[in-house]
């Protein structure tokens, strides 16, 4: 099993989001970064489990600058075998997908795993794009995956339920909650991660076809209206007459 896991770096989940003065850029000052939770908790751990059960290797890949190495080292500490960083600026999903597809196209990975979305851009785009570049099947929001020989049975989340699909490797899959259990790197893993290979390669040319021109904060609530706990009829009345939601 040769597995490729795409990992991204995102602001830590409690990060306070702000922008520069003319709202054209995200303000990175004071922001702590983490590995995107879906990539770390589910895609990466499931790949490591498959490797543990069937042999082979887990390669993690990130498109981004040298600052990302710390996140990449964490993936190695959790249990990935090797890492690749494509030294480009992750400007858009299409840029990232193009870089990863170029790297993967002649490496015959049995499976490419991603998180279901990045928690910053929430695009849910990169996986589908890589799959199209490589002409592979793509399954999104997988919450369970079994492998017997070359045949995989994958359970994918759909609205209010699940769809169980069967297909042959190789394919691309994005992971959601349930795929695996989060692993915390131990001391040995951290020590070993320092010796594992992290190769840096240059990006191919690609220009994005969409661009963010303005950021805004969501419209603020006008303030909470407190209701007398003894008077739930009043709350019901307000929901009906004022908010018009019931």
């Amino acid at each position: 099993m040769n597995l490729l896991v795409c990992i991204s770096k995102t602001p830590e989940t409690t990060a306070k989001i702000s922008f520069n003065a003319d709202s054209t850029e995200f303000n990175t000052e004071g922001i702590q970064y983490i590995m995107n939770p879906y990539d770390e908790w589910y895609a990466l751990v499931r790949a490591i489990e498959l490797q543990e059960a069937m042999g082979g290797k887990v390669v993690v890949i990130n498109v981004g600058p040298a600052e990302n190495d710390i996140v990449i080292r964490k993936a190695l500490a959790i249990g990935a075998d090797e890492a690749i960083r494509i030294d480009g600026e992750a400007k858009s999903a299409s840029y990232v997908a193009k870089q990863i597809a170029e790297y993967a196209k002649d490496k015959s990975f049995d499976m490419i795993l991603l998180g279901k979305e990045s928690i910053d851009y929430n695009g849910s785009l990169v996986g589908a794009m890589i799959a199209e570049y490589l002409d592979l099947p793509f399954l999104s929001y997988a919450s369970k995956m079994k492998l017997e020989g070359n045949e995989a049975t994958v359970t994918c989340d759909i609205e209010g339920g699940v769809e169980v699909l069967k297909l042959q490797i190789p394919f691309v899959v994005s992971a959601s909650k349930g795929m695996a259990e989060q692993r915390i790197p131990n001391m040995r893993g951290i020590m070993m991660s320092k010796k594992k290979p992290l190769e840096v390669i240059g990006p191919v040319d690609f220009s994005a076809k969409e661009q963010i021109t303005k950021y805004q904060l969501p419209a603020e609530k006008s303030g909470v209206r407190l209701i007398d706990p003894q008077d739930m009829d009043e709350l019901v009345r307000l929901l009906h007459e004022e908010a018009k939601v019931i």
Binding site: T13, T14, I17, P37, A93, S94, A97, I119, D120, Y121, N122, G123, S124, L125, G127, A128, M129, A131, E132, D135, P137, F138, L139, S140, Y141, S143, D157, I158, E159, G160, G161, V162, E163, V164, L165, K166, L167, K177, K209, E210, I212, T213, Y215, Q216, L217, P218, K221, V224, R225, L226, I227, P229, M232, D233, L235, V236, L239, A243, V245, I246
Partner: protein
Amino acid sequence: MSILVYIEAINGNFKKAAYELCNYGCKLAESMSTQCIALTNADSSVAQKLSNYGADKIVNFSHEALHDSKMMTKLISDFAKANDASVVILADNSRGKSLLGRIATRMDGSVVSSVTTLPDLTNQFAVDKSLFSGKSVGTFQMVSNFKIISVSRNSIGVQEISKPSNVETFDASSYSSDVSLVETTRVQGTVPLPEAELVVSAGRGMKGPENWGIIEELAETLGATTACSRPVSDSGWRPHHEHVGQTGIAIKPNLYIAIGISGAIQHLAGVNNSKTIVVINKDSEAPFFKAADYGVVADLFDVVPRLNESLKKFKEG
């Protein structure tokens, strides 16, 4: 030129979101002085309903493998080319998510997912999208000739727009799939959380799973779907699919009632696009009150059963 909307029927029928998507295509087509074509898997009698929501032309097809994103990408892209579509519109749901990036790559177009506004044609086809899990909104310009977007639910609402369109059929039998569907299971009886207009959600303030009866009763009275905070599903008090928030499901209902939930930023990230938020918490300092429209500072075990009684009275009204 045309605008193409791909609208999937679930179990043979359309949900409200399907009509909103059709409306979106129609409104965009009108502003670009072109026609809106709806492509759907629904059979003709159901497909015909789209003529009440603005489709200028309705085309249906039949295929077993809608779940195969590789095949469906070919099918939709071929259809878009044959009909000279310059914009393709998908639903922002699990199916849309598996297709959007693929079609964009195949057609070499500009792409934005989970769009919440109609494109601004005076500003390079600019659309808004929620970013940072609901903590911000970004405006994206789409510069390619071909554009593909998925539209977030409850973005423009549903309106009846009648058009005298008939259903034509597209022969999809030449498309073959190598992904097989073993089974589809859906939670019976309730509206799935991502589609629910009314949601009753509870957190660790409930103390334990044995106390969820009052939440289920309230949800039943309202016709609401139940949700929960992450520690609640992590401890196995409630099923995983109820977990809302930054690392769970992001929802956008009309009404979100949060009971015994503190309102941590990761929880808010998944629910702060709800139209109206009611918070019930005994701690008046709970951060959730800052994101709420209505608040009740009280013991949930006292107030929730009484809210249920008041709602019942209102429903019987």
